[in-house]
């Protein structure tokens, strides 16, 4: 658990630092701009942030920190949920500004008292005194504070008010606030920042012309969330820093949730966190999922049971089967031998990862520039394809190789240079040879260039000949010859080289990009239970209810409940029978008929055991059971009482569910 928490923390820290870094330039731009503004209208920055509302928290916090540190202003962060009315808004604003004041100046004696006073006064319920107090507040107190602080500071710093979620503010509140603050703009230099999730159009939709003319708006665009995702995947999955890896299916689930549901980086991280938790909780061998330095120690502290666990892994069994018989016995019986072997295997796995990442990047350099992107544009798609099965067996890979064979020279050279850089950056010795080879290719290309210029000289000569000989017959002949030679012309040196390069890359791919689940002991570091993950993150309560009601056999393993297709088994639980009967009805259901149908079904089930001796008693019980089932359905939201007709209920669902 401790390891896991460590890992978790490490990971989150990494992410946070990355996220704040990615926002920093954006923030700096905004800060600069706030410094520059002169105030005749209210200067306003509109930040277009995209629909992933949940991620914006971090951005705003970072922004207010940056603003704080550059000593410009007092910053107040307002959220729509705190400000249902202008009163709350003012109250919140004052509170935050006062607190800011205290924070910045660390002057506590006076201001503290003031804050509490202020709050009390803000809350005065009656409308008139509220308006008085607001005007008093804005008239007398804030400007005073302004003057106080401006005397202390080097210039009068603007007060920045950030509206976190512009869309969810009430129009009236926003308008009122802007109008009020525009009246006091001379004494109190305000700067507003709107966080916008949709598009800048919303400003004009929310604010009428008279109000928006009081604002001087500048627009800022933030990075799109897809770029975030790709950087996160880059940092998280395609490094060898974290020993924990995701399997294909899991990765696909996470990416799908991101792309098709919410665009939220936060949720992606949450899913990743859940994967870590699940992995370390359910997989007994996850102890070994750590950095290479710790592996040895941990392996030697393994108990016998854990060794048995290793032997039980399917990938390990495959490995054992490939060994010769003497070693097989040794592996299956001798614990210490097994431990040594495991250590070796784990080291292999680590080396494999490092190589994998580098080669993957190289391949991505090649494939990402091809037309139509047969292997995908983003590195994550390539990663998925490589993990899923042998990538060189797929059609897409085939077609991308074909396209690569038609590349022109300048592209090819730049790509090769990129590859060399990538490979150089990796620490492993593995790639020395590859780097050399690639460099060789590069020099050859340079040579080619030189040769090409010579060749051009050569090619000029036949044309010169053409000019010399002027008679028609010869001309025709030479032209034909030229044509002939062009057609049958052997591949130029460049083309040959091109093939060679592509083939070499191909061989690299074949060597290093073996999918992970064909490696031995991959279970230790790969998390592959996609179904669990999907169940926890992206659940479907309605489907669960539907199967439980339609097919109780799924949950209650009883032979009596097994039935085929749409029929109603009369032995099912009451609520299932009632549900099935209600499915057959239209929009409204008559309770009396429903009751009768139900009692017929139930009576048929009970007929064999008890003859209808005390039919009245049985009737009452059935009636009661029916009532219970119907009220349960009402609780679940399938029906509701209807006033359209007496003793009817309305169905709220349609079709299967």
């Amino acid at each position: 658990q401790q390891i896991q928490e460590n890992l978790n923390k490490q990971l989150l820290d990494n992410l946070l630092s990355f996220l704040s870094r990615s926002h920093s330039d954006f923030q700096e731009k905004t800060t600069e701009w706030t410094c520059k503004m002169k105030f005749r209208e209210i200067p306003t920055a509109a930040l277009v942030l995209g629909v992933n509302v949940t991620d914006h928290d971090l951005t705003f916090r970072g922004l207010s920190d940056v603003l704080h540190n550059n000593i410009t202003p007092y910053v107040a962060l307002l959220e729509a949920k705190d400000c249902p009315g202008i009163k709350n808004l003012m109250q919140k604003l004052m509170g935050q500004l006062m607190n800011c004041d205290i924070d910045v100046d660390s002057l506590e004696d006076e201001d503290c008292v003031q804050v509490s006073q202020n709050r009390v006064r803000c809350s005065m319920p009656s409308l008139i005194s509220w308006y008085d107090s607001v005007t008093k507040k804005t008239d007398s107190e804030t400007p005073r504070k302004k003057r106080n602080s401006s005397s202390r500071h080097w210039q009068s710093p603007p007060v920045v008010v950030i509206f976190k979620d512009m869309e969810s503010f009430t129009t009236k509140v926003l308008q009122d606030f802007i109008v009020i603050s525009s009246q006091h703009i001379h004494e109190l230099p305000l700067v507003l920042i709107f966080g916008i999730a949709t598009s800048p159009m919303i400003i004009h939709r929310l604010l009428p012309h008279s109000v928006s003319s009081l604002l001087c708006i500048e627009l800022f665009q933030s990075l799109s969330c897809k770029e975030h995702l790709s950087t996160i995947i880059d940092k998280l999955l395609l490094t060898s820093r974290f020993p924990f890896k995701l399997g294909v299916k899991v990765l696909q689930v996470l990416i799908n949730i991101f792309l098709y549901h919410d665009f939220s980086v936060q949720n992606f991280i949450k899913g990743f966190q859940l994967c870590i938790v699940e992995h370390f909780y359910s997989q007994p061998l996850s102890v070994l999922c750590c950095h290479l330095a710790d592996v040895k120690e941990r392996i030697y502290s393994l108990s016998h049971d854990q060794c048995e666990n290793i032997r039980r892994l399917p990938s390990f069994r495959r490995y054992v089967e490939k060994q010769e018989s003497g070693k097989q016995i040794e592996l299956l019986i001798n614990d210490s031998f097994l431990k040594e072997e495991t250590e070796k295997l784990l080291e292999d796995l680590h080396v494999y990862h490092e190589n994998y990442v580098q080669i993957l990047r190289c391949l991505h350099v090649f494939t990402s520039s091809l037309p139509k992107y047969p292997l995908g544009k983003q590195i994550r798609e390539l990663h998925c394809a490589c993990l899923e099965n042998r990538v060189w067996e797929t059609e897409e890979y085939e077609s991308s190789l074909q396209l690569a064979r038609m590349l022109n020279k300048t592209d090819l050279v730049t790509m090769l240079q990129q590859c060399v850089e990538i490979l150089m950056s990796s620490s492993g010795k593995e790639f020395d040879r590859a780097v050399q080879k690639l460099k060789e290719f590069l020099t050859q290309f340079q040579n080619l260039e030189a040769e090409a210029s010579q060749e051009r000289d050569v090619s000029v000569s036949p044309q010169k000949e053409l000019q010399k000989k002027t008679d028609l017959y010869h001309l025709q002949k030479t032209l034909l010859e030229l044509k002939e030679s062009r057609r049958s012309k052997k591949l130029t040196k460049f083309e040959m080289l091109r093939f060679e390069v592509v083939d070499y890359i191909d061989s690299l791919v074949r060597r290093y990009l073996v999918p992970a689940d064909q490696r031995t002991l991959h279970e230790v570091v790969y998390f592959n239970a996609a179904a669990v993950l999907r169940g926890h993150l992206n659940a479907a309560p309605r489907t669960a209810l539907h199967t439980a009601l339609n097919n109780p056999h799924w949950y209650l393993k009883n032979q009596a409940l097994r039935c085929d297709g749409g029929g109603i088994s009369n032995k099912a639980p009451d609520i299932c029978i009632v549900y099935k009967l209600h499915l057959e009805c239209g929009r409204l259901i008559n309770l009396v008929d429903w009751l009768e149908a139900f009692s017929t079904v139930v009576m048929a089930a009970e007929e064999p055991n008890a003859d209808a001796a005390s039919s009245d008693q049985v009737d009452d019980v059935i009636h009661a059971r029916f009532i219970r089932a119907v009220s349960e359905l009402e609780l679940l939201g399938f029906i509701k009482p209807s006033k359209q007709k007496t003793d009817h209920v309305a169905r709220l669902t349609w079709g299967g569910c």
């Binding site: 509302v53 669960a544 209810l545 219970r628 009402e634």
Partner: protein, 351 residues
């Protein structure tokens, strides 16, 4: 081919839907429960009858529950890692949560919220946190302030831990936007651990992106097939005879279907009754006074309209009339004062 088939089926379904909803005429028989010459059961006899009826498939249900119980320790781990847990599936999850509580939470501070209880409000949840967990008796102006206070306390004191178990997070009273917002903010505090259960098929509709990320849910399917005994005992079914006093939820429900003026009339009466609540001999508001007040508030324009309105209230059992010693008609709302206060507060929020 299969896909095409499916598409066709879907198309049919859609057409059927619009066909069924196109005309207001409904084809059902006209029989009513009155003609069934069967006495209506009341709550008590219903309960007795059901107690005698054996529960089907008890063994299988027990197996199922044991499966869920094996997850308890995992839940604890995940709660501590900052996730909150939500249970869905058919059947009452009350017993399961109770078992979780008794087996794992015995020693720690925990709060159980019965969401199915019809007069529960967020206010009461917050109150029980501030009063019993934090030992603060002070009152707060609105839930937001209270929430702020709680957040501050929990942030200051890292040793405070609280487990909150909510049965039926999706019940009538808690499903409102504001309540969910407050609960979500509460659950996002790192030292408050929330386990909730939902039953309604449309329960996930009440959460938007922001709330979902605050809640940080982990979904668990726990289909138990247990009957909803406690939960449905408050659900006023058509088939059960009404008894006892009005619950807040039904009061709100009925009032919502009325016109604005009618609501105003009822409000006036309620306010008046609350003002006089300390006077034990208060006989109720006389009709003449009430008429005068309603006129002043521009709610009615004649004696007759007010009478008609009052008759409607009477039919819904919202008010009761009493003739005093002097022969004057007095109007009373037969609801206890706390419910009435809650009701007025709720109205204020809505407006």
């Amino acid at each position: 081919l299969a896909k095409k088939n499916k598409e066709q089926k879907m198309g049919n379904l859609v057409e059927e839907y619009f066909e069924a909803h196109s005309s207001s005429k409904v084809l059902t028989s006209d029989r009513t429960l009155q003609k069934l010459r069967k006495r209506r059961l009341d709550q008590q006899t219903l309960h007795d009858l059901l107690k005698n009826a054996p529960l089907a498939y008890a063994a299988e249900i027990r197996d199922l529950n044991q499966q869920h119980e094996s997850l308890f320790s995992k839940w604890m781990l995940q709660l501590h890692l900052g996730f909150n847990i939500v249970l869905y599936g058919l059947g009452s999850k009350r017993d399961l949560l109770e078992k979780f509580r008794t087996s794992l939470l015995q020693d720690s501070v925990h709060l159980v919220v019965n969401g199915y209880f019809p007069s529960i409000t967020v206010r009461s949840i917050l109150n029980s946190i501030t009063e019993e967990v934090l030992d603060n008796i002070g009152t707060f102006r609105n839930p937001l302030d209270q929430l702020e206070f709680i957040t501050k306390r929990f942030k200051e004191d890292s040793s405070l831990e609280l487990y909150v178990l909510i049965h039926n997070l999706d019940s009538q009273m808690l499903r409102g936007e504001r309540s969910q917002q407050i609960l979500a903010q509460l659950s996002s505090l790192p030292s408050i651990y929330l386990i909730a259960s939902i039953d309604h098929i449309n329960a996930p509709l009440m959460w938007d992106q922001a709330k979902l990320s605050l809640y940080n849910w982990l979904w668990y399917e726990t289909t138990t097939f247990n009957p909803y005994v406690e939960e449905t005992s408050y659900e006023n079914s058509l088939l059960v005879q009404q008894s006892g006093s009005l619950a807040l939820s039904s009061l709100v429900h009925v009032l919502h279907s009325l016109t604005l003026n009618a609501r105003g009339i009822f409000r006036l009466l309620a306010q008046h009754q609350l003002e006089k609540k300390d006077n034990p001999s208060y006989p109720g508001l006389s009709f003449q006074d009430f008429y005068q007040q309603c006129r002043e508030a521009f709610l009615v324009n004649s004696d007759l309209t007010l009478r008609a309105q009052l008759t409607e209230f009477k039919d819904h059992k919202l008010i009761r009339t009493k003739r005093g010693a002097d022969g004057v008609e007095y109007l009373l709302i037969p609801v206890d004062d706390s419910t009435l206060t809650d009701f007025l507060e709720k109205e204020d929020e809505d407006v």
